[in-house]
Every structure is written in C-alpha cells, then in structure tokens.
Amino acid sequence: MILSGLSLRNFRTHKNVTLNFSKELNYIVGGNGQGKTSLLEAAYYLCTTKSFNSKDIESVTFYENEFEIKGIFKDITEDKIRLIFSVPENRKYYFQNDKLISRSSQIIGRFPVVILTPSDHSITQGAPSERRKFIDSVISQASSSYLEVLLDYNKTLKHRAVVLNLLREKKTKQLETELDVWTAQLIAYGLDLINYRQNFLNNFNKYVLDSYHKIVEDKEVPKIEYFYLDGNETHDIKKKFDKLIFDKREEEIRRAINLVGPHKDDFVFTINKINLRTFGSQGQHKTFQTALRFAEFFYLKDTTGKTPIFLLDDVFGELDAYRAGKISNYLKEVGQAFITLTDFADFSFLAKEENDLIIKLDKGNISYA
C-alpha cells in the first residue's frame, strides 16, 4: 500500500498545499519550523485518525476553525481519504471515498503505519511502561485477539483496585470472595498476556537481530529479554502467579493497588547480553530504537500481509555518516517511506535512487528534486 498524494488545509504551518509522493523513498527537507514533521503527522492521521504527538486542536493553524487532510492510498484499489477536524464542534470527520466512517475500529489496521520519531528514545531509555506500550502496540496491530485480552485485563485491574480499596476500609467475607474472583480473572487474562508476549518475542527477536545487523555490520547481538512475575523462568507460570499474588495479598489491600501481573512486566534490551539501558552508548541506543521500528515494519508486513507505510522523523540526527548510509540503504527494502531531514545536513551519505523524491519545504513553497 502506498500514499500517493496529500493535500493539507489549515494544518499547522500548511495553509494550503498539495503534494505528490514517490512510491519509494520520499526525503522531506527543510529548515526548522518549515512543517516537515507536520507532513508525517498528516499521513499518520489518515492511517490512524490520531496524531502521534499532540492533541487535535493543536494541529489547527492559528485563528482557523478547522483543518482538513486529504490523501489517496493505492493498493489493488484506490481509496480517497478525507479527514476534517472542526474546532467549534471539537469533532473529527473521517471520510473514505466520500462515505463517512464513524467507528475508528473500522479504520485502524486498514492502512498500517510504522513511525520512528526522536521520542522513541523513551522506549530504550525510559520507564518500563514505555516498553510495554511499544510491545503492546506491535502485538495489537498484528493480533486483535491480543488487544481484546489486553483491554479485558486492564478493565479487570481497575475493578480489582476498587475492591482492594473497599477491603482496606472494611473487611467482609463477601468482599474477600469478590477479591478472589477478580484475582482469578486477573490470573486468567494475565497468563494469556504472558503467553502471547512470550510467543511474540520468540519471533520478534529474529526481526530485531536482522534489522540491527543491517545498520551495524559487526558482531553485536541485540536481544529483547522478557521479565514477568519477577523473573523469566518458564516452568509452571500459573503456580508462580498464584503464589506471588497470594503472598502479596495483604500488601495489596493495605496499599489498594494491584502489585502482581503483566502490567508490571519489563522488557530488557541487551547487546551481547549487556543491558543497553545501563551501559549503552547514545549511538547504540539510537541504533537499537531504529532497529526496533524496522523490525516492527517487517514483522507487521509478514504477519498481516500488508505493507505499512514507514514514517521516519529526523532519524539521521544523532547518527554518524556510516550508520546513516546503512539506514539509507536499508530503506530500499521497505517500499514507501517518508524521511525528514534538516537542510543543513550533508546528504552525501544518502543512497538516493532514480525513483526517490526529495521534497524541499521553504516558507510555504514546495519544490521537488
């Protein structure tokens, strides 16, 4: 699937622009504040109905009432997509071939997208919740059953927290039994999640290794290790889960929070078995983040059978020319991608091919090269 063109009206700095894209690599070049990232944001909106970095209202040009994004996706067929956000109504309208689509579940997954942004640093450097968010989003895009279990699990957590809080205030037999059944439910969904995540990582690690070696050609071996229920042993998870939650029961009631389960999982990224988060260099972090997104791209392509569009925001910023050149080469295997670059950078590393497009943004003017 490719995005063949984009029209923007009152979208951030873009008052009124229309762009055509190459079905291969599109390098978007311009100085700071020229609206490079906004183009990626617009493409992301068409795929997901959401922004990747801000609220809808922040994307409307100052003093305007609405923004509009139009785009054409080409696959075997052609889909014209139009998205309007109205400030007075605080509402989004999403049209597919002039037909209003009201449920976002009908859109998500239809035009798969993978995005690499500078904020990805939080995946390798931030809190465990950032890594769970990343892993959850990749699995959810490939498996809607996973998403269902995840939503059920999260709901169970919230219900259970309320019961814990009630028990803290007053211990009754009835509430104890209620806690027991919410616990049983939490364990059932939780085991499902752990199982999904284990299977996913067994598979996904191959993609990470592959992608990483396309970017750095040395003997570094990247791996995502999964830590669940305070460890990563694989024998009899259920027994361990039961025991942990039984042992923590009093503490859970005292603090009225859920202390055991996959919402506490962590994923540890290692290079040659050494923890990236503690010992990794900036370059290794950036390379790992980039490899994760490439891995996500190829994983989704293989499991869903659809080729996502790939958005890369300022990927070359912190990399040396060698790695940047490798990534530029690697991108040829992707299909369609959109890559932003600041204009003062030296482009000599870019392995630009005939079909690739350089789109220059300068004070609202657009030129192609």
Binding site: S144, S145, E148, D152, K155, T156, K158, H159, R160, V162, V163, L166, Q174, L175, T177, E178, D180, V181, W182, A184, Q185
Partner: protein, 198 residues
C-alpha cells in the same frame, strides 16, 4: 429560534429516552401533535401503566403484575432449575426460544466495582435464600460473556457449588444461521476452544 413551550418541553423529555437524540425527539413530538386525541391518550396510558401496574416479582425479580411473575406462578415449569440472568430483558430473550422450561432469577446487574456495584447491590442473597425454600438441583448461569459477566458467574459458582447444586454456564459460539467468515475472531476462537464431539 422561538419554539412554543409545550413543544419544547415535549422535545426535552423525549430526548431523555435512550437512543433518542434532539432531532428524533422533535420528529416524535411533531408527530404526536398531529395524531388524534385517542391515540395520544392510549400512548400516555400505556406509559403510565408501565410504572403503576408493573413491578418486580418478589421471588425472581422478573417483571410482574402481581406479587409473583407469570413464570413463578405457572404450574407447568420445571421448578428444580433456575436460570440466572442480568436483567428482565434477558428473561424475555430466553423465553422466546421455547427451549427452557425452568425458573429464573434476575440479578439486576453484574459485579462492576468501578461503577460501584458489588455483591450486595445484586439479588444474590435472595438467590441463596431460594435454595433453602425451593428444591433446586441445577443453576444455569446466563450472563453476558464480558469481563464483568464472567467474573459474576465465577462468584456465583463459588457460592453455589458448596451447596451441592449443579452449576452450569450457557455455551458460547457461532450464531446460528451466521456465516463463519463474518464472525469476529474472539467468537471463533472461543467456539474452537468449546468445540463438542459429534
């Protein structure tokens, strides 16, 4: 815009009903305005009777005109079975099938601590009391297959099983007459898990 006050009030009241927005409410109000007085009186009476003539069965909490509902009063039902449902509308849904001839018990909801519903907000104590008075041999749990429904089933099973009463849960799977290809993944997945021997 100026709208006559009685019309405005009618629109406001109608739009409080579930599934009725402002525009539909206005259409309904204008329609009522045009119909003859008899029809309007009948409608008003039907609505009013709903509240005055119907209440909850004192045994099973289904809708009833008297103390007991028609099902509890009937002598033709199998009084050894109780089917536990969430709302009275579920009783109607099951009755339409003509496949079940036992009694019911309407919980009036499911466990949902987030919305402030715990066990004592439901007719669970009343259900347990029925086991003392009636001769029940099987309880069929027919709650919705979502997180809250499942957890409530689990809760009831824990309470009822020790009383040596059989507890079953309705099966779930592919809708009859439905196309397999159009069923959602969770349904097909569960139907696969709960498959039966032929």
């Amino acid at each position: 815009m100026q709208i006559a006050e009685p019309l405005l009030i009618a629109i406001e009241e109608l739009s409080k009903l579930p599934g009725i927005g402002k525009k539909t409410a206005q259409r309904l109000a204008l329609y009522i305005l045009k119909t003859d007085q008899d029809s309007v009186d009948n409608l008003v009476k039907a609505i009013s009777d709903l509240k005055t003539k119907l209440h909850f069965c004192t045994r099973c909490f289904n809708l009833a005109e008297d103390d007991l509902c028609d099902i509890c009063k009937s002598t033709k039902r199998d009084t050894t079975k109780i089917c536990v449902v969430e709302e009275a509308s579920d009783v109607m849904a099951i009755e339409k099938t003509n496949e079940y001839n036992g009694l019911y018990h309407v919980l009036g909801g499911v466990l949902s601590p987030l919305s402030g519903v715990t066990a004592h907000d439901l007719k669970i104590k009343e259900l347990l009391l029925r086991f003392d008075k009636e001769n029940i041999s099987e309880v069929i749990l027919a709650l919705n297959p979502d997180t809250e429904g499942e957890t409530t089933s689990l809760y009831l099973a824990r309470l009822i099983k020790p009383l040596n009463i059989k507890v079953t849960r309705i099966a779930r799977g592919i809708p009859i007459g439905g196309d397999l290809e159009f069923a959602d993944e969770a349904t097909i997945g569960r139907a696969m898990l709960n498959r039966i021997d032929l």
